[in-house]
């Protein structure tokens, strides 16, 4: 079991690298001026160039080659001071370094994003945790009922309700698929045997606690994570969005890890297969 957990933890490294590369590709592969033009439609060139400089897109993308210091950058200027910096003073290595140090950077107003996250996690959790628990309980009960009454009118009504309230539909669906027909054996048997899909579904909806709260917080004016995401989108603050992408991926990976360990605890076969492979 310990070997399994260690192996599973080591798997974090390539996936985290992938998340970083993907995020970098989204935010840094486009030409800086094109990027600026998307953010500031119909702005004159000097404003676009100012945008490039404010967002540090004038740095070299991969390597800060000494010979390139006199090239005109996307902000329309030459940056001779780059010659004094190291080879790795570039967009790629600076973002990678910041991520390794868990430095999420600052937002437009120079406020550290980590601080904003700390302030906003409370309100979000105070809403999303009860909602999550209620969803889990509610959909479990409904799904058991629906599976027990399979192919009756009530089952159809429940399926209809589940789809209408699609937020609870997926967990409900999965358990609904594990049909067992006889009496109250249902709970003992189904719950145990369907533990694996239920756990997957529940743990996969944990990252949804962040993204799912966008609508809710927006609608009711709650100063939580979703509100931060929305504000970041409206202000077109790349750093905030990037930080939230990392955070979302991190939460997802943690919950996937927890699920896998729970699986292994529930079902020894998984442990053995993984050990053999």
């Amino acid at each position: 079991m310990r070997a399994y957990i260690v192996r599973r933890l080591l798997y974090f490294i390539p996936v985290w690298l992938g998340v970083f590369l993907l995020t970098f590709a989204i935010f840094h592969l486009r030409a800086p001026l094109t990027l600026a033009a998307v953010q500031l439609p119909q702005a004159p060139l000097d404003r676009l160039q100012a945008w490039v400089r404010n967002n540090v897109y004038h740095l070299p993308r991969c390597f800060n080659l000494p010979g390139d210091a006199n090239i005109e950058r996307a902000d329309g200027r030459v940056h001779p001071e780059l010659a004094r910096q190291s080879l790795f003073h570039s967009q790629f290595f600076l973002s990678a370094g910041a991520l390794l140090r868990f430095d999420l950077g600052t937002d437009r107003t120079n406020k550290p994003i980590a601080d904003s996250l700390g302030e906003r996690i409370g309100p979000t959790l105070s809403i999303m945790l009860p909602a999550f628990l209620l969803t889990a309980l509610f959909s479990l009960a409904l799904a058991l009922l629906s599976a027990y009454l399979k192919d009756t009118a009530l089952d159809r009504v429940l399926v209809f309700a589940a789809i209408a309230l699609l937020s609870v539909a997926l967990p409900a669906y999965i358990i609904g698929a594990q049909y067992v027909s006889e009496g109250w054996l249902l709970i003992a048997h189904v719950l145990r045997n369907s533990a694996v899909p239920v756990l997957t579904q529940l743990s996969l909806s944990i990252p949804f606690l962040i993204t799912g709260s966008v609508l809710l917080e927006q609608y009711f004016g709650i100063p939580g994570m979703g509100d931060l995401l929305y504000a970041g989108l409206v202000a077109q603050d790349f750093q905030v969005i990037k930080a939230l992408v990392y955070l979302g991926a991190f939460v997802y990976m943690l919950s996937a890890l927890a699920t896998d360990i729970l699986y292994a605890a529930l079902d020894p076969r998984i442990r053995l297969e993984a050990g053999a492979g």
Binding site: I26, L215, L229, I241, V245, G248, Y252
Partner: protein
Amino acid sequence: MEWLLYNTAIGAGGARCVFALWRLRRSDRGRVLRERLSRSRAARVSLYVLAIYAAVGFVALLRFPAADGVREVTPIDLVFSLVPRERSYSAPFADTIVLAADEDASAPENQTAGVHPLGTDVSGYDVLYGVCKGCSTALLLVIGTMLVSFPLGLFLGVCAGYFGGFVDDVVQWLYTTIASIPWLLFVMAFLLVFGRSLFWICLAFGLTSWVELARLVRGETLKLREAPYVRSAKAIGLPTWRILLRHLLPNLSHVVVITFTLPASAIILAESVLTFIGIGVQAGGTSWGRMLVDSQVELVRNPPIWWVFAGASLVGILPLVLALNIAGDALRDALDPRADL
């Protein structure tokens, strides 16, 4: 003349789909499928619902030059130009205008221009018109997403399953990575950087939704790789691309059908969410999400204007998503090779 070319292209695409369905209907496989599907009335009804929505969406994609020669109109515009336009809101089936106490309700100038089953919006347009136009946006989104995600998912999944080893590792790493980023966050970041047109929305959805398909296709290919016909194809020295294209891909079609329906309903719902947050369809565009967002301010009026909201959600989104889910479940059961005949 451009519109003629455009309509021909759209028409050819539509005809191709209809032809494929017709051929499936005639084939042995299609007969078995139909037999299994006909057991459930809900499945049959939802397939008809899907067909209606697809047809309306398709018709709304066609373009014709308008009478003034500048704008282009769709057949939906032409049909609804026959429906008289109101001055402003009109409740569903309303036939009189709300009047002051001293006005004569039966006077001809105080009658509404026509009766609208779903009411009209603030500028007097029929809500049903908006719902029909929303169909085409939904159809475009679904088709556009599939055009990105199916080739990606099929290609990577088949390669991973067939070649195994290093290729498999890379593909698995790729889809684990993409699955690790909550897709809504990925889509938001993507749209923020690339812009908010329908094209980029489709691309963003497509890039996140090939994961499930690739996973299933990989598993299925792993099984098929050892099948006698694939081994004999290999033994007689067929080139690899031919084995993949002619022998493996056609036998993966059931996986494709199974993974089609759930993403489709997710895409339709996601469009509303993105539009609500302000990075989906922009103001002035037509989509169900746009209608929902616009109807938000009208819901808090006194008396509330509820029919725009009801039209978009109860006539637009809900039946389609419901039908997609039911049809998807039924197709999955019907295509399951392990199911008894």
